[in-house]
Symmetry: C2
Subunit: 308 residues, 2 copies
């Protein structure tokens, strides 16, 4: 007879735009098996999500179709397998669990999809999908206030109070960096793909600087003029622009949050850049767990009574 830590209790999937990670988890949270597949929702041909699911988790559920499966991320978007409507903030793990959308996975079992969150400020909605699960996975206190930063294509800053996501704000930092580097005049003088550490620091300082003109529409032009005047080397301009944008995001995020020491959740190299930015801003940041998505999926599964 197998012990609790050997018996599969949950299939957990972090199913995003470009990648799919999956874990087979025991009742006590032990990871029994794990997989990563380049089967993000944009790579699933003809909308055959059932096929992609079977190719990933099929072996785990063969002979055990009632093994619960839970997925978070863009798989629950309009472009995914099925839309899981946004849950409005403030939102607790229980509220998110109540918003799960369950579908027939095509293998004799079901798949539950975690809803994204929405909030509203100044008459404009904001959304996240996937990050709510990572936040719940990194949240180690259910009392008091916690601030999270999730850097990426569309970075999220989120404020949690007493276990509920109260409000959050998106910053298109990663995508703006990508399109300006690839498609605007700012990329013309850039050489190499590396982020020069010293130029990144100079960019951070420029991005955090107060005073007019404060608009990024003005400030990003420095990534051209500093190159034109040979004050930054061609190989340094990419790091300068990255620092400028991350610095602007961090300064704004801290102002928006009203202070606090954020926990950074994200890919380690990017998290390290944000930690540098926060240090420069005089804020002590900590790096969250690398398996925040898995932890959050398990937490939501427990809240939904899917796993025990």
């Amino acid at each position: 007879m197998s012990s609790l830590s050997e018996r599969p209790a949950l299939i957990a999937l972090d199913w995003g735009t470009t990648s799919l990670r999956a874990w087979l988890v025991a009742g006590d949270g032990a990871v029994l098996d794990q997989l990563a597949r380049p089967l993000g929702i944009l790579a699933v041909e003809g909308g055959d999500f059932a096929g992609a699911f079977a190719a990933t988790a099929g072996a785990w559920r063969r002979g055990n179709p009632r093994l619960p499966a839970l997925a978070s991320g863009m798989i629950g978007s309009r472009q995914g397998w099925r839309e899981a409507p946004y849950v409005a903030c403030p939102a607790s793990a229980d509220a998110i669990a109540r918003g799960l959308v369950t579908l027939d996975a095509g293998d004799g079992g079901t798949l539950a999809i975690v809803p994204g969150l929405s909030c509203e400020a100044h008459g404009v909605p904001d959304v996240m999908r996937g990050e709510e699960t990572q936040i719940l996975g990194a949240l180690d206190v259910t009392v008091g206030r916690a601030l999270f930063v999730l850097p990426g294509t569309h970075s999220k800053w989120a404020l949690v109070e007493d276990g509920r996501v109260m409000r959050f704000a998106s910053f298109m930092t990663g995508e703006v960096f990508a399109v300006l580097s690839r498609h605007s005049i700012l990329g013309r003088l850039m050489e190499g793909e590396a982020i020069d550490a010293e130029a990144f620091a100079r960019g951070l300082a420029a991005g955090m600087r107060t005073g007019t003109p404060g608009s990024l529409l003005h400030r990003v032009f420095a990534a051209r003029t500093l190159g034109l005047f040979a004050r930054e080397a061609p190989t340094a301009l990419r790091g300068y622009l990255s620092g400028l944008l991350i610095g602007a995001e961090v300064a704004e995020g801290l102002a928006w949050s009203g202070g606090g020491a954020p926990t950074i959740i994200g890919e380690p190299a990017l998290a390290a850049l944000y930690a540098r930015a926060l240090t420069l801003a005089g804020v002590a940041a900590q790096i969250g767990p690398v398996d925040a998505a898995l932890r959050g999926l398990r937490r939501i599964a427990l809240a939904a009574g899917m796993a025990h």
Copy 2:
């Protein structure tokens, strides 16, 4: 014997990245002939600027190789015919005239090229090339303070005192709008190429709004979420984003300038959008002369003693 208003005194060229406009001007400023050619510096094959010049102004100078010719714009950049080094602000018409670079035009005569301007703020240089000529052309007072806005791919705000360009700031508004619309997620929900007037006004208000998060990295995301929540129609999203960016530029530009009623110099449809933005900001703007480049070229030619 021909009168002063019939005798050619100057060939003036506004020679930019994508287009070339040329005028044959009499001593009293009367336009005797004019041409527009799709021979911007990016379209001149093999760097044959002499050929492009001959194809444009050749007939005007045939038999009269000593007729002065003066060009402003990107033709004086590193990618142009010959680099005309930037003149540092504060810069008067006389200082700009002293910075002219004269080259052999290959037709027996010469061509003088107007230098761009540079200025520096917070350790970062800023540059313009072509706009200095338009500013001088629109400047109808040589005493006191004047504020100019030149909207475009890289908009310029410039402060002039007693006939000297004191300082200026660039905003990458037009290019950021183009790359976000074409290459980012913000373009995905957009339909049509028109700028919806009402959505533009809503975008303006959002772009000018104070309060956190103020960063455009956050605010531009509204051009996606308002579409996701069906609060802006797909055909309205382009206008909303345009308004958001122009609103942000105008709010920052006014703060940077320290106030004043700007003169807008630019393509009429774009100038009208900026006039709406300035009106919403409570500022009385005026539209500058449509032939500002020609007027400025003539003014610089006079200052340089090239035309009488």
